[in-house]
Homo-oligomer: 161 residues x 2
């Protein structure tokens, strides 16, 4: 059982990588124009979902306490506002690049975190609350964002039709 935490972290990180890879593969199979379609009638477009995923992942840098966002304009367009807000959305060609850049840089950090560092608090919880709720840590954020990604990947998959 001595390496149990390392093994468990590997499983969690592999799950993140696996979901990102599946989205990467889907993106490679879709033409830019297809992102203009709604994933289901009356729902979000592919552009919005891709922008939302890039924005949510970009927000992980400050949330995990490892730096600033790379593309801070994304939050207003793809998180604070809904699709069809009238705000100008970044072209798909650029969103593809943001998506790659953000995930690539995140993975650099993820690969370097020690188990101790994974279990440190994220920046949206204060020291006092963290003492009571030690599960509000970086690892929890990673697990939560992996599921967020899987959720929207299930929707983006409908663009393939």
């Amino acid at each position: 059982m001595d390496n149990s935490i390392e093994l468990t972290l590997k499983i969690i990180l592999d799950a993140w990588k696996g979901q990102v890879s599946r989205v990467d593969k889907l993106l490679s199979e879709l033409a830019d124009e297809q992102f203009g379609n709604e994933v289901s009638p009356g729902s979000n477009t592919g552009v919005y979902l891709l922008g939302n995923l890039a924005a949510v992942h970009d927000a992980l840098f400050p949330l995990l306490g490892v730096g600033e966002k790379l593309y801070r304009e994304l939050e207003n367009i793809f998180i604070k506002n809904q699709d069809k807000s009238g705000l100008e959305q970044s072209p798909v060609k650029e969103l593809r690049i943001y998506w790659q850049e953000v995930n690539s840089k995140l993975l650099d950090y993820f690969g370097r975190f020690s188990p101790e560092e994974w279990l440190q608090k994220h920046t949206a919880v204060n020291e006092e609350a963290f003492k009571e709720e030690p599960h509000r840590n970086r690892l929890n954020v990673l697990v939560s964002r992996t599921n967020h990604l899987a959720y929207h990947f299930g929707q983006l998959a409908f663009l393939k039709k």
Copy 2:
């Protein structure tokens, strides 16, 4: 760091419970008839997705080595065959019960597994391979099924419109 594995297991198990709860809530908001709709044009119906989720979760009993499936007829209809296969599908009223029963019983086991038991091999890997790949354990299955659930939950959410 002494309780790091317990903390990490809590995070993983909480993520599973969270996804199941979100699906439970969605099911409570949908009438049986709504499950007859496709989640996106030309895609799976809600009936099929609910049946698939119940079947995949039911298959966790043998995969985790804790018992037999509760509803073994589900696999053929909702895993081995696609939607619109012509096979008679269980009524939504029954699928709702299967879903609850399976998850409730799974949670009984999940709550009792020790960290050592979580890191034991699942039954689809043999002893020899497991020595080389110790991440092919019960915990890995749980993480993988949580993401599978999130993926289809993202699709089921379209039934609400």
